[in-house]
Symmetry: C2
Subunit: 200 residues, 2 copies
DNA sequence: CTCGGTGCTGAACATGCGTTTAGTGTGCTG
DNA sequence: CAGCACACTAAACGCATGTTCAGCACCGAG
């Protein structure tokens, strides 16, 4: 039933009731109010996310290519749609989802650094936050700017977005973007010796 | 008058009318409809953006530190607010703004590459798009997840966001994230010789 | 069969929205 | 002063929304 709600958050109760094949009065009677319905869906979605994560842990935790990631997305298509809507609108699901993703990301990068796969950062937490917000934000902005005509095509859309973004992303991740260290060193010098005492 | 509209797009005509100190009927009478008001504001904002860009070209086009960028943001605070709302909601302003930003970005990176400041990419356009969407998207997602209590604090919020993101960003841009070339080379090998013929 | 509970519905209600309309003052023109 | 256009408003309308209410059909228990 939660998947109906992914047709939009501002969307009328009558529509989700019609999708469920019941009267609008029933869904209100059952959930108490629209807000409570939203809350219930949020809880359900968060539970589904936890389940999906566990399921993925059960699978090959190591050799996960991004083909498997695509498969995961397609398997949980409505969930992804709901999540994107949430990220667009804000709210508790979005918050806790991103928070969880941040800690996960931090954990993963820590492991990657320890394994010698990733370079260490001067501020691991800030890097994890930046990388996560960038990746999610790019996807979010992309779907916001030109949303798929048919919401059912969302998985195809996500797939296309990632195949288009993968090259520049992995290029940036391995080779960087700037040719010299000047900007970084300038900044490091700046933070170690702030020129003006206006801010701490 | 356009700045009133930045209090939200779904927001009632009555509110913006009250902010303008006039009756709701007048604004409708003057603009024809709410949609047309929105369109008018969009045009106005796009014009303001062009003006701001020209203004910035007039200033030190080269030695632009990001202090000046902050100053620019603060000088055009309502504009930035409107833009963020637009990016959140989608629509024509968001589209044309991002499109313009993409071509600008492509142009800048091309110049930077030619000047030897930036590394060349295997797909300059894709990289410009990725970098732009990531940067904008990260900011957008950040303000969506925990919006400033007072919309007037938005410039402070933007400032904080960038100061927090600058280190990981510049670090990533100069040093990269991955320690070895394996993922990139694997991908390059993959695209040069796709294993399955399902997609072109 | 009757009774009561339960899942459910159609019609109504209140509210807030964008918009329309009739009308009012105000100032400019002759 | 008369006429008129114009900026503006108060009140209403039509519509969609979330929500409520009285009642309907079913169904197991007595």
């Amino acid at each position: 039933m939660a998947r109906f709600a992914a047709e939009g958050f501002g969307a009328p109760v009558r529509a989700v009731a019609a999708d469920a094949g019941v009267s609008p009065a029933l869904v209100i009677h059952h959930f108490g109010s629209k807000e409570r319905l939203r809350h219930e869906c949020d809880q359900h979605v968060l539970a589904l996310i936890r389940a999906a994560k566990n399921e993925n842990i059960g699978r090959a935790a190591e050799g996960k290519s991004f083909f498997e990631a695509f498969a995961t997305v397609e398997r949980h298509a409505p969930l992804v749609g709901y999540l994107l809507r949430s990220l667009q609108a804000g709210g508790t699901v979005a918050r806790s989802f991103v928070d969880q993703m941040l800690t996960d990301s931090e954990q993963y990068t820590a492991a990657a650094v320890e394994a010698g796969v990733a370079r260490p950062s001067r501020d691991e937490r800030a890097r994890a936050r930046y990388l996560t917000l960038s990746a999610l934000g790019a996807l979010l902005l992309s779907v916001t700017l030109d949303p798929p005509a048919d919401p059912a095509d969302l998985t195809a859309y996500v797939r296309r977005f990632f195949t288009e973004s993968y090259l520049p992303m992995i290029e940036l991740y391995t080779e960087g973007f700037l040719a010299d260290r000047r900007m970084l060193d300038d900044y490091l010098l700046y933070v170690s010796d702030p020129p003006r005492g206006e801010e701490s």
